[in-house]
């Protein structure tokens, strides 16, 4: 017999890990330790140093870099990055969910092929793909030509090098990372439950909101994580499609290394950013765990 706690495979996991589980987890732990923790410690040390003219660190101790991090300029940029990431995530959920659902409910032979079709555009080179977008969005571009033919009154839209262009680029780039995890959850849905709900007289909207959404919530949460988190630190799309006018946190950090030659300050920005993320994420995990304990 199993206890309720063991059955509820939630965030906190099931039974307590024995030595065998630890052994199996060891490769992952070693990987995290060697390639995440150690490099992060290097950055931490650098962030308290000064720099020479090459951007190299000079080993002293200074908190000046962190004082600069608190400059309102950087806080504003940070806020803007979160805003873009949130908006991107929201649009990706809205656009991606129906697609993931459709693929997940397709006949088995079709599913993997549709998934592959979603991913293939991203096997082209990022730069070439982005220049194609520029060709579409520019003033004398494809989109404006179509618009001109359909609704000449609107006039050519000034899209490229605006926040709208950045958002299009972000949604385009991150959409598959929303669709794929949701697909994993949808595929698991038991068709019988949905039909049963229909049979009980529930309308499509009601089936959707009270059956499908709750059952695919883990997939939506995973997709949100995979889109929101990486898009905060993104930098290349702002440069190419936004004209590099509105820097996001990813651009600022990148520039400390590849323009301003100030590694210590770049490291300080990075450390502050990672700590903020880790604390938030860890808090969310704890919150979810508590909720499950209380709910279970």
């Amino acid at each position: 017999m199993t206890t309720g706690a063991e059955r509820r495979g939630g965030a906190g996991g099931g039974r307590r890990a024995g030595w065998r589980a630890w052994v199996l987890l060891a490769p992952l732990l070693a990987w995290l330790l060697l390639f995440i923790v150690v490099p992060a410690l290097v950055l931490l040390v650098y962030s308290f140093c000064e720099r020479d003219e090459l951007g190299r660190v000079v080993y002293t101790f200074t908190a000046e870099n962190y004082q600069r991090v608190l400059d309102p300029v950087y806080l504003r940029i940070f806020g803007r990055s979160i805003g873009y990431a949130a908006l991107t995530t929201l649009i990706c959920v809205g656009v991606g969910f129906p697609v993931a659902y459709y693929i997940g409910r397709s006949p088995e032979g079709l599913r993997d092929r549709l998934l592959l079709l979603i991913m293939v555009p991203f096997w082209t080179s990022f730069l070439i793909r982005t220049y194609a977008w520029i060709t579409i969005l520019k003033q004398e571009g494809l989109l404006n030509a179509v618009l001109q033919a359909l609704a000449p009154a609107l006039g050519p839209l000034d899209l490229l090098y605006t926040p709208a262009a950045v958002l299009i680029g972000l949604v385009y780039g991150y959409l598959p990372f929303m669709i794929l995890p949701i697909y994993g959850s949808v595929e698991k849905l038991d068709g019988a439950i949905i039909e049963a709900a229909h049979d009980l007289g529930a309308g499509p909207l009601r089936v959707f909101s009270s059956v499908i959404i709750p059952l695919t919530l883990p997939g939506i949460a995973a997709g949100t994580l995979l889109v929101f988190v990486p898009s905060i630190a993104m930098f290349a799309i702002t440069d190419l499609m936004g004209g590099a006018r509105v820097p996001l946190i990813g651009n600022v950090i990148q520039n400390q290394f590849l323009q301003a030659r100030d590694w210590p300050f770049g490291a300080a920005l990075g450390v502050a950013f990672l700590v903020l993320f880790a604390v938030t994420y860890w808090g969310l995990l704890r919150f979810r765990e508590r909720g499950e304990e209380a709910g279970g």
Binding site: L24, E53, L258
Partner: protein, 340 residues
Amino acid sequence: MNLPRPTRRLASLLLALALPVSVPAAGVLNLFGWSEYVPQTVIDGFTKETGIKVNFETYASNEELISKLVAGGGRYDLVQPSDYAAEVMIRQKLLAPLDSARLPNLKNLLPDFLRRPHDPEGRYTVAYMSGTVGIVVNTEKVKEPIKGYRDVFQPKFKNRLVVLNDSREIVSWALYTLGLPVNGISKESLAKARPVVAEWVKLVKVFDSDSPKTALLNGDVDLGVVWSGEAAILWNQNKKFQYVIPAEGAHQFIDVLAIPAGAKNQAEAHQFINYILRPEVSKLISAAFPYTNPNAAARRLLSPQELANPASYPKEGKLESQEREMRRKERRIGGGAQAA
């Protein structure tokens, strides 16, 4: 236990993949440069003639080159920085002195390109290609004469400008405009430049160091302050794109070849530099990329059309090579320009 075996197999696969890297370095040249900037035909020609295998690793900017060297990566025999980067590298003892006895073809270079401020004695670097930073005007859209930075950064051109995404460049244009020295920057001169830059930045539609020609070609902007190589390509494409050397002064940059300190294959590196300096080889580089060729003997082989390109071979204007020292205070201004 199922897991360890695949893991072990994977480890051996990884090892097998890593092996080809540690081939003995006899007759090898590890070149670190911009991809395609050294045309493949030139590399193949060198290998064919000398039997030396060229491992060509590429970067996209001077800063990438410096970052990777500084972080301890790679073992290169020949690098291709721009003058300002080379200057810092010389000061930081990252470059090995050249042996001019092994570079007889140095005589082909124009004297102008021999002892520049970045390397006053010409001990560490050899000019590869050169260019300027100047103004491109789409004369179909902009009818009034554009002579300098002052004419470009006018409120009426708001959202019609593309400029290099390089805060150091923008600051130097402001200094030129104010008539302040670009070499030997002081706190006071930067304080004066700061408001000028802040105003200018608001007018710009696109910041792009990699391909500023794109926005001009697409018609999304009408004026640009860009590399001359980009301007030359634009002029070749359409004569409506005129290149103007700014009246206030313009900066001439030189990309050089240099050998990193501690390079293993210095003999091969010298051979390669000497090969590049041959007029018929240098001509190939010019054909691929319309920068200014510093090689006098190679220039004689260029077509009249190539020489007529005003962006590659400007006839007038005040050129100055810059010693672009990176000081802490300068960075502050740059950061401000970025964030504004």
